[in-house]
Amino acid sequence: MVEAYLRQSPLAHLGLDGRAEASRGAAGVTLAERPHRGMVNLRLDPSDETAMNAFAEAFGFTLPTQPNTTAGNGEASALWLGPDEWWIVSPSPGPGAGPDLADKLRAALADRFAAVTEIGEGRTCIRIAGPKARALLQKGCPLDFHPRAFGAGQCAQTLLAKATVAIHLSADESAAEGPVFEVYVLRSFAEYLWLWLEDAGREYEVTVIA
């Protein structure tokens, strides 16, 4: 874990706080960074019922085994990455979020065959929302983002403008601001991806929000 006073988002130098608008206005797309989320990579054999139950007991929801789906509650969510691999994400940006998640997992799975690896410091999360959010992602990603093909709660690891990302649709068109995508990107690609999003979104009017 990085010392708390040294923690800096990879987009800190863009001064996004200073550009943030209070509301979306007429913008088709809003962008925001959600930095410093606690993130843990979890490897576990889903046929190990004891381990699956131990996770459910500790977190209050079951690890998703359906490909490209997520599960979760307000405190944490789990993104399916592969047949025996998930990300467990805490939306809290506090410096303890990652270590706390990892500790909780290690305690719950102490006697099981599983791997718990903290990965949050190497990544950031870009939130892309609004009625044109699907159109914007579609410009740089080969996945089908039509609402029929990519619904709320779905996730995918893929390429966005050639950067490796994991995309989670946390809310769909039923949300007041339109679909809300959370895009997890490696720290070193974050600035590139942000600038690409602003450029590709220009025709939809991009607003930075807090």
């Binding site: 490909p67 490209n68 990455l81 592969g82 047949p83 691999e85 080969p142 996945l143 995918a156 690891q157 893929t158 390429l159 490796t164």
Partner: protein, 97 residues
């Protein structure tokens, strides 16, 4: 652009994958007993099939799993995908002439 059905994630665009060349090339049991020519044969020499080819792919930008693909090298049609370690499915081994 190929649409490759990853056995774990479902159909995805070719650009998410990396190619691993021919599948089912057995590693020599006693590599120290091979001479240079035999070792080179194992490392470098692959069949150059016109027709159904069994090959390896890895979903590098997705689930990062390796798996096998049966692909027609003439039409590029993907006839089957199957897990690493599994036997290839029975396919009509048609060869284009």
């Amino acid at each position: 652009m190929l649409l490759i059905p990853c056995p774990y994630c479902g159909p995805r665009s070719e650009e998410e994958f990396s190619y691993g060349n021919e599948a089912h090339v057995p590693r020599p049991k006693e590599p120290e007993k091979l001479n240079d020519a035999e070792w080179a044969e194992f490392v470098f020499i692959r069949s150059n099939v016109k027709g159904v080819f069994l090959e390896r792919w890895v979903h590098s930008h997705g689930c990062r799993r390796w798996f096998n693909v049966a692909r027609d090298t003439v039409s590029y049609e993907i006839l089957a995908v199957y897990e690493t370690g599994a036997k290839p499915p029975k396919l009509e081994m048609r060869r284009a002439v």
